[in-house]
Symmetry: C2
Subunit: 209 residues, 2 copies
């Protein structure tokens, strides 16, 4: 069987097809790579319509990455989906607390999700600049409450919670705060989408491999 | 802000909405939980039409899980996306080799993807029964070649490679072999879809938590 087996060739080929199929749809120069990488990760062109930037989400997010701010991810899938080399090149750490034993215990005791307790833990860490939510509406709601209370001041919130109970609403609720935001409207989103957004932004800092 | 913050309630609510929106679309009793869990993970109802079972994929996959066969996943996202408790309950290990140093080195030398070299490594391990491919068409093509050559005899292949270069074709190429298969037709697929399939099957073995 003949098939393309060169990784760089596969990626370039994919982006060429995506660009072609987007057709007349164009995006600002710095946004296009983010849109395309999400589509590359999902094979779903609907994301071109669902992606939204609020309150300087792109600019503030890039600034936070340049400063080496820590990223909190609400899932391990995001954590492993973000390019290790890109993180290392820019000395950026990506953390997730939702599987920590103390988090699980407290969540059970309070009858709330682990995601809620985990993001509370992340908010207490001043070195976290970016909050990347690909799964739990409850994490997003908790973060919004903390921002309103003046207890959190994120450099960027990536709101891409996915699902049928609360996901769309939790992302809509981001309208209530002035934080820099990148969000996926509606029910869709998820860890690969968040990882794609972060990778696209990291690659704009320079990608030498 | 009022929001649902009980994990079990969120999951049950989601599945109720999915069932309602599937409407007249019904599936065999053992297949329905797989379809619904994929939709739960992607918020994308198109998967109800893309999921396909060939050559006893469901039955042979369940048998392999009952026997505690090892799962090879082509991405770390699948590895972390499959429920740890479910794996532990049934003493099933899930492995991924695509980030191993020896794999990276050999891939570079041969000018092929790490996914190709990684799956070759997995095929050499007789305890691997299930090959779960959520990313790389090259992994799937390599596996198909090895099956044809009589060098691999998988209990189940999950073919959910995603993307624009070779993904749909690689899954179509599964028609050439008689192995038990669960596949996602077309361009779509990905790690969350594979994790959803595996979780749905594992939960059918019993879920006491």
């Amino acid at each position: 069987m003949e098939f393309i087996n060169n990784p760089r060739e596969i990626e370039e080929g994919s982006f060429a097809i995506i660009t072609e199929e987007l057709g007349d749809r164009t995006f600002p120069e710095e946004i296009a790579p983010i849109v395309k990488r999400i589509i590359h990760s999902t094979a779903d062109f609907e994301y071109a319509d669902l992606l939204e930037f609020l309150n300087g989400g792109y600019e503030c997010g890039m600034a936070a990455l340049k400063q080496g701010k820590k990223i909190y991810a609400d899932t391990r899938m995001i954590q492993v989906g973000v390019n290790k080399k890109a993180l290392a090149d820019h000395q950026i750490e990506i953390v997730n607390y939702s599987h920590d034993a103390d988090v699980a215990e407290e969540a059970k005791k309070r009858g709330v999700t682990r995601s809620t307790v985990a993001i509370e833990k992340a908010i207490k860490d001043d070195s976290v600049g970016i909050f990347a939510i690909g799964n739990a509406p409850t994490a997003l709601y908790t973060l919004i409450e903390k921002v309103k209370a003046g207890e959190a001041k994120p450099d960027l919130i990536i709101g891409a919670a996915i699902g049928f109970v609360g996901a769309a609403q939790s992302k809509k609720a981001l309208d209530q705060i002035d934080s820099p935001i990148i969000r996926i409207n509606g029910r869709k989103g998820g860890s690969p989408v968040v990882a794609a957004i972060l990778n696209a932004m990291l690659y704009q800092l320079g990608r030498e491999w």
